[in-house]
Amino acid sequence: MSQGTQTPERGAPTPKQGGDYNPRIGTRHWAARVFKVLVLAATLIGIFVLGVLLFDIGIDGIPRLSMDFLTSGGSSSPETAGIYSGIIGSLWLVSLTALFAVPLGIGAAIYLEEYASDNWLNRILEINISNLAGVPSIVYGLLALGIFVNYLGPLTGGKSILSGAAALSLLILPVIIIATRESVRAVPTKVREGAYALGATKWDTVRGHVLPMALPGAMTGTILALSRAIGETAPLIVVGAAVYMTFTPNGPRDRFTAMPIQIFEWTGLPQEGWVSVAAAGIVVLMTLLLLMNSIAIVIRNRSQRRA
């Protein structure tokens, strides 16, 4: 409020009369609302299809479930077929796979996080591991077929559980390494420094402090990786899993089958009755996966609550 000086107008500029400024607010807000609906729909499409999938398989498969189904082996008629040999085979496979892949994976992760210096060799190691994580699973099957089944045939027993477990272990090894590295990295530096300050050696700190703290996260990642291995079909087919087995394996050098293999076989059979058998097999498989994933999530939640 002074005389003589012009103070500029504060506030929103009022559009000049007859100007060409057209904010089209109505249209733009309408477009914004449509877009919001579209992206929400996109998010829900996947979940909707998942729901339809589970519903369809449940309807076909659950009526077919029974104790007989779980305890009978393969058969040539859909009424008497069961998934028993698949369950046994999958159990053999996942045990051996865990035996090979878990120590190797955790060991490699500890090396990369705690021991490896940042030189070119170790960077190549890291790039290599992340590349391996993206290799299609069937290529791991070809690797196992060429090397474990054929060249090392006398040692592994050819198309045996051992070869199958080798394929699966190598397949999930990068996944375990990456997951374990994340949890090892999450351990606070102070914990290590405290241990060093008290005179502990590197292995002392890793074994006594870093590893116990990283273990829940590593276990979560490992269980998720193993559940992926249980569902894998392609590498096992290539290695030579039997699709029709009436006896169960007695040792790691025996031929084998697995749940996904049997489901694959049943899906391909033309008679009408096999559809529900395959669906029932899927129900068993996915129940097992649900169990394993729940255990992994429980471990993760419990460790987060403690932290």
Partner: protein, 319 residues
């Protein structure tokens, strides 16, 4: 860690002994053991490259590389076999194309919703649901494609919905659609990371200039996250190319050079599975073809993964 034991006058109460030689060797041994675990991964890569090249080279001694790349038919089991990889690769690309048509818009849309629209509570509920999609075994997807999607498209499921009544039992379309659903989580999670990494300041600047949320997202956020989003597309494509069970079950085992999605066609991965599950002992040409096809597959996915890696690095460096 050699800490001097004792003070400068040579007095040592006898308790602190520093690191003994045995301890030092033990530490080195453990380091070596752990390093060996890590180097197994190198062995794996060497193994893959070696076995693919070795067996494929045996194949290429019988069939020239030129014939492999240029021939337009594939009939490995006939008396006059033809080995044109184009047939199998074309099927792979057709089905991958259909899958990407589904997965890219839906995955990107879901990523946009989760990063920019959803509240924290909704995010916490929806993200695990998408992860479940990623955890379903592919044989289950294959079964679903064959026993539900194909009949659905034929009109056997809903009487009012029959877009393709003449659809064959084995076709590329059902396989492609279901594969698209399978890779939605891949595209969504990598895209979401990229969108999340865009600084809030960019968004807030756009809002401050009066942009609607739709305009901000499409004109500011998505372009800013473009390299990460591209990486997610390429990763999705790589996964689709390498996928086996959905196509083996639902697309059929007929090597057929066609662009018609309602046709049955055999992809590279389905071929490998088909031959490996039959009687093809080591040393036969058929046995060697699966390594030649496997080599092609491996190279395709390797190149795609490397390209996507560069795109990821680009978007991580920008911020």
């Amino acid at each position: 860690m050699a800490i001097k034991a004792g003070d400068d006058r040579g007095n040592n109460s006898g308790m602190w002994r520093g690191e003994s030689r045995l301890q030092k060797y033990k530490e080195l041994f453990i380091k070596g053991l752990l390093a060996a675990c890590a180097y197994i991964s190198i062995l794996t890569t060497v193994g893959i490259v070696f076995i693919l090249l070795y067996e494929a080279s045996k194949f290429f001694r019988e069939v020239s590389v030129f014939r492999f790349l240029a021939s337009t038919s594939w009939s490995a089991n006939f008396s006059n076999p033809e080995f044109g990889i184009v047939v199998l690769a074309n099927a792979t690309l057709v089905i991958t194309g259909i899958a990407l048509l589904v997965a890219l818009p839906v995955g990107l849309g879901a990523a946009i919703y989760l990063s920019d629209y959803a509240s924290t509570r909704v995010r916490k509920a929806l993200k695990p649901a998408l992860e479940i999609l990623a955890g379903v075994p592919t044989i289950v997807y294959g079964f679903f494609a064959l026993t539900f999607v194909t009949p659905l498209l034929k009109g056997d499921v809903l009487s009012w919905f029959a877009p393709l009544p003449g659809l064959g039992t084995f076709n590329a379309l059902s396989a492609g659609l279901v594969m698209g659903v399978m890779i939605i989580p891949t595209v969504a999670s990598v895209s979401e990371d990229a969108l999340y990494a865009v600084p809030r300041g960019l968004r807030e600047g756009a809002y401050a200039l009066g942009a609607t949320k739709y305009e901000t997202v499409t004109k500011v956020v998505v372009p800013a996250a473009l390299s990460g989003i591209t990486a997610s597309f390429i990763l999705g494509m790589s996964r689709a190319i390498g996928e086996t069970m959905i196509v083996a079950v639902a697309a059929g085992n007929l090597a057929n050079l066609s662009w018609n999605p309602t046709d049955s066609m055999q992809t590279m991965t389905a071929y490998i599975v088909n031959v490996a599950s039959g009687e093809n002992p080591a040393g036969t040409v058929q046995y060697q073809t699966i390594f030649a096809v496997g080599l092609t597959l491996f190279l395709m996915t390797l190149i795609l993964n490397i390209i996507s890696h560069f795109f990821v690095r680009r978007y991580k460096e920008d911020y």
